[in-house]
């Protein structure tokens, strides 16, 4: 069971870390100063949550690994994050849509994880859910403004939605690990959150005068098994190079 819990914690942590790292790439590149600070803040929240999750995971694993070991010395195939969070920042609309699609799920997930029977995870969720509620407020308010903004912002946001929507199926695929841990009261079956999530995002997307793209035939998945899009390798290369070049370096 510990092995499965470790795997589950890794998935949660990798989602937060990769999304946080993507946001960190925008530091000093956001459209306006205030938004630059906002995105960096949200990125820091994500990375902070990831750190707590890695710490708990590492302790459970009992191999004397630190969060840094797990983050900097793991290949893409060992990363278990969703494909959605590793997608590039693109334009501001794409960054916001990616964030919105994750945050609307994150609120539901971490709200339920507060009741996890695995106490350290419940504790992390209690802190995280407050932060994610703010992230959701930020991304959903931007979605409304971009969608219902100018002709150009509307068009770009719709394009971002068309581009990213196909990665949302994967969020709600529950496998054996998740099902088993849910029965133990440790995890939350993500498939059980889909209906509520769809209701929330449909309402917001409609309010933003955007439309939900039609579902394609192909299901984009594989992140949970380490099968990633080409983007993750590039992200990891940049994130890991300093730690790998100077393994003993102190920050």
């Amino acid at each position: 069971m510990n092995e499965k819990t470790f795997e589950y914690l890794l998935r949660l942590a990798d989602d937060r870390l990769i999304l946080g790292h993507r946001l960190s790439e925008l530091c000093a590149h956001a459209p306006i100063l205030e938004e630059d600070i906002a995105l960096a803040n949200i990125g820091l929240d994500c990375i902070g949550q990831a750190k707590f999750l890695y710490e708990v995971a590492a302790e459970l694993e009992g191999k004397n690994r630190t969060p840094d070991d797990i983050v900097y010395f793991r290949e893409a195939i060992a990363y278990k994050n969703l494909l959605l969070v590793e997608q590039p920042n693109g334009d501001f609309a794409q960054t916001i849509v990616r964030q919105f699609l994750y945050d609307s799920f994150g609120i539901l997930l971490f709200d339920k994880l507060q009741n996890s029977s695995f106490v350290p995870l419940a504790g992390i969720a209690q802190k995280a859910v407050k932060e994610i509620r703010y992230h959701y407020r930020h991304s959903s308010q931007w979605l409304l403004r971009l969608g219902d903004g100018t002709e150009e912002s509307h068009q770009r946001t719709q394009e971002a939605l068309n581009n990213l929507w196909k990665f949302t199926d994967e969020i709600f695929l529950s496998d054996e690990t998740e099902n088993l841990l849910t029965e133990e009261g440790i995890a939350v079956r993500s498939s059980s959150l889909k209906e509520e999530w769809l209701k929330i995002v449909t309402e917001l997307i409609t309010k933003a005068t955007l439309s939900i793209p039609e579902s394609g035939v192909k299901v984009y998945k594989g992140g949970r098994e380490g099968k990633h899009s080409e983007h993750l390798g590039h992200l990891l290369a940049e994130m890991q190079i300093v730690a790998r070049s100077y393994p003993e370096i102190q920050w």
């Binding site: 306006i32 100063l33 205030e34 938004e35 600070i37 906002a38 803040n41 703010y134 407020r137 930020h138 308010q141 931007w142 403004r145």
Partner: protein, 101 residues
């Protein structure tokens, strides 16, 4: 875009109250297109670190300020007879009478 066009978002002033009963104090200013993003930006810039109980944002254009030429007639009062200053009693009360041992 014409040269005279102001492409900056509206300017807002941010006031932060650190605890119950303490005054809202000016923290700085931010730019935002509307009230909701203004209060979010204010939070991200000024209230993420440190203690905050409550926050106000107000459009800078709604603040009526004195002009430099107002200084002599507005502010150049006699400096003797400190008790004539409205702050005199406040300071006295704050500093001495109301101070708990």
């Amino acid at each position: 875009m014409s040269e005279s066009k102001n492409d900056q978002l509206d300017l807002w002033e941010v006031f932060i109250q650190e605890s119950d009963n303490s005054p809202h104090q000016h923290a700085g200013s931010i730019r935002a297109a509307d009230a909701e993003t203004a209060i979010q930006n204010a939070r991200d810039v000024f209230a993420r670190r440190g203690k905050t109980k409550n926050m106000w944002v107000v459009k800078s254009e709604h603040i009526i300020a004195t002009k430099p030429e107002d200084i002599p007639s507005f502010f150049d009062q006699a400096s003797d007879k400190v008790y004539r200053h409205p702050q005199f009693y406040k300071h006295t009360l704050d500093d001495e009478l109301w101070k708990k041992p």
